[in-house]
């Protein structure tokens, strides 16, 4: 499940960059910007869970 997440984020990154290229080529800079932002936010939502996991783990292990 863990490596899955990495692959998914990388796929989103590649997809967003291709979308960006396509939109830029047809002269839609604003939409390209928006796709970049949307991709960033989607990935952030995905990794937030993992960051919370990490913090919880550190807290329990080192007895905070």
């Amino acid at each position: 499940m863990d490596i899955d997440l990495i692959f998914r984020i990388a796929a989103i990154g590649i997809l967003v960059s291709v979308l960006n290229a396509v939109l830029n080529k047809s002269g839609r800079e604003e939409q390209a910007m928006m796709t970049t932002l949307a991709g960033l936010i989607v990935v952030l939502m995905m990794i937030i869970k993992e960051i919370v996991n990490l913090f919880d783990a550190v807290k329990t292990i080192f007895q905070f």
Binding site: I3, L5, I6, A10, K59, F62
Partner: protein, 128 residues
């Protein structure tokens, strides 16, 4: 053997980051963040057993638990601060990285104050 898993994970994420870094550096940074978190979660069990070992020995020699837990907390803070600082430095924000490191150091010093005071008390009491 967990080390092979971790190595494979690290190599795969490094390759993905290299692919993405030119086009979308922001997503490459996020991948490195997730990779760090996942690797830590993988070795979590081992760290827990080591901490458990130290705990039992500390109990055997009747060490004050305050000192031991402070020590552990300091290790945790150091790890988190290092993690954040390296991430910032990878993204090219050296200034923010050094600020995070400074904050980690300050918090560690503040947490170590009880230990330092007790040590100084011992030193002062031994002085003639």
């Amino acid at each position: 053997m967990e080390i092979f898993q971790i190595m494979g994970l690290a190599i795969i994420s490094t390759l993905l980051i290299i692919v993405l870094k030119v086009q979308k550096p922001e997503i490459a940074i996020q991948i490195s963040l997730v990779t760090g978190a996942i690797i830590f979660l993988m070795i979590l069990g081992k760290v827990a057993s080591v901490v458990e070992l130290f705990n039992t020995y500390a109990k055997q020699i009747n060490l004050d638990m305050v000192y031991f837990s402070t020590l552990l907390k300091i290790v945790g803070i150091a790890y988190i601060a290092e993690f954040g600082a390296e991430l910032c430095r990878d993204a090219g924000e050296g200034a923010i990285a050094s600020k995070v490191e400074l904050a980690g150091k300050v918090i560690i010093v503040v947490m170590a104050i009880p230990i330092v005071t007790s040590l100084l008390d011992v030193v002062i009491s031994m002085m003639p």
